[in-house]
């Protein structure tokens, strides 16, 4: 009887979210940044200072999913007045729409590593599909806290007008290049 119980537990293991590698994103090592053309002169860069989320990651089963929630009001371009403007209804409308979220809907693999992460980006209440190219990825035991940790860097781009952010187009670029670095520890 004991043997059957062990076999049953082993069979159920891949379906158990905890064993199928649930991860919690480390907000102190996760960065969501962007770059946008400024008046045709240069590229302006900024980031968000507060984000949270989770990952499910199972390279053996070639399954993965990512959910990230970003505090829209935490936008930081290194200029307080500009950040206030970017948070206003002209751009992110952060008071009415405080959260920007990305929820993956599918991934592709390159061997044991993620190649792309596709998902829905929701901003100002509008959801649009986005595909992120994963440029690097690694999983290993964290040298300090000894937790199994995975991280990846990804890039992508969106058209802000798709989300109703029309202000200043075309003087301020319509296409926003995204750069996302995520580090997450297994639960």
């Amino acid at each position: 009887m004991k043997k059957y119980l062990i076999l049953a537990a082993l069979a159920a293991a891949p379906l158990n979210p905890a064993l199928a590698s649930d991860y919690t994103i480390d907000p102190t090592h996760t960065y969501v940044s962007f770059a946008i053309n400024h008046l045709g002169f240069s590229t302006m860069r900024g980031k968000f200072d507060r984000q949270s989320g989770s990952m499910q990651f199972d390279p053996d089963a070639k399954k993965a999913s990512v959910t990230i929630e970003i505090d829209a009001a935490s936008i930081d371009t290194g200029h307080e007045k500009r950040d206030a403007h970017l948070s206003s209804p002209d751009f992110l409308n952060a008071v009415e729409y405080p959260t920007i979220s990305f929820k993956s809907t599918g991934v592709t693999w390159n061997g044991a590593k993620l190649a792309t992460v596709s998902g829905d980006l929701t901003m100002l209440g509008v959801s649009k599909p986005v595909t992120l190219q994963v440029t690097s990825m690694n999983c290993a035991e964290h040298p300090f806290n000894k937790k199994w940790t995975c991280g990846f860097d990804a890039t992508g781009s969106i058209k802000r007008t798709d989300f109703g952010v029309n202000y200043g187009v075309p003087a301020i670029g319509e296409v926003l290049d995204l750069q996302i670095e995520v580090e997450a520890a297994r639960n």
Partner: protein
């Protein structure tokens, strides 16, 4: 032409001013509320250029555009009907209350009870101050339009100086439309004023919604609305002992313009006064 219509100064100043002026002059013999129809047309076109045709997502700003357009339309259409029914004051109050609820309830619901109470009390006090002040000037076109011009200019400039060019542009477009209608009165002398309380609805509602939105969405200090609230009262107090309509218009609008510019400058300075970022 497209590039010209993309320019904020055309969208929010030149175009609404010219359209309101031409329509107020053209329609004055057809209806007593020609100036309101003129402002409605001017604001609608400006809002289309500023916001585009899209209404999704239905943000607070887009709700404000719909409500201001609706208030101008109603104010132009209904004075006779509502006067007979003695419903003008309750109608104006109810319109403002429902508008505040529709635009801000979702945002305010996420706040603490004390914050909600303070915002509600401030908004109601602002609305009643404006309503009572406009009642004092409704019989005098010079004072009515002078107060409206200064108030809308002040709200538009203050919103722009705080953080939102979008809210600012809407206020400035209304101010320009008001200026066009005002000039039509200066040129013709046709009072065009139905002398009904409901015609002040857009002058109360637009600063109320744009002002509260600027405070909640664009970091406008709430106390910047206090001097703006007294613009209609200031316009009612200046002596207008001139024969010339131009002189009366100039003097009636002067206190509002001074208060509006001073408030906007103060907001601009206190919010960092950085430009060109």
């Amino acid at each position: 032409m497209d590039n010209l219509l993309d320019r904020p100064e055309v969208q929010s100043a030149l175009l609404p001013f010219v359209i309101a002026l031409v329509l107020a002059l053209g329609l004055r013999k057809l209806t007593a509320t020609a100036w309101l129809w003129a402002m409605f047309a001017a604001f609608t076109l400006s809002a289309l250029l500023i916001n585009g045709l899209t209404l999704t997502p239905l943000t607070g700003t887009r709700k404000i555009i719909l409500l201001i357009g609706g208030a101008l339309f109603v104010a132009a259409l209904l004075p006779g009907v509502l006067a007979r029914l003695r419903l003008q004051r309750p109608f104006t109050d109810l319109f403002c209350l429902l508008a505040l609820g529709w635009v801000f309830s979702a945002v305010v619901a996420r706040m603490q009870t004390l914050q909600i109470a303070m915002i509600a009390a401030g908004a109601v006090a602002f609305a009643f101050t404006l309503q009572l002040s406009f009642e004092r000037v409704i019989v005098n076109p010079a004072r009515l339009h002078g107060a409206g011009l200064g108030l809308l200019l002040g709200v538009g400039l203050a919103a722009t100086a705080a953080a939102s060019a979008l809210l600012g542009q809407l206020g400035l477009a209304l101010a320009a439309a008001c200026g066009g209608a005002y000039l039509a009165w200066v040129i013709t002398g046709a009072s065009g004023n139905a002398k009904q309380l409901v015609v002040t609805l857009p002058y109360v509602l637009a600063p109320l919604l744009l002002g509260v939105a600027s405070v909640l969405f664009a970091r406008l200090p709430w106390y910047a609305l206090i001097p703006l609230a007294f613009i209609p009262l200031a316009a009612s107090l200046v002596p207008l002992k001139f024969e010339s309509r131009f002189a009366r218009a100039l003097v009636a609008s002067l206190p509002g313009l001074v208060i509006a510019l001073a408030t906007a400058f103060w907001v601009w300075k206190s919010s960092g006064s950085a430009s060109g970022y």
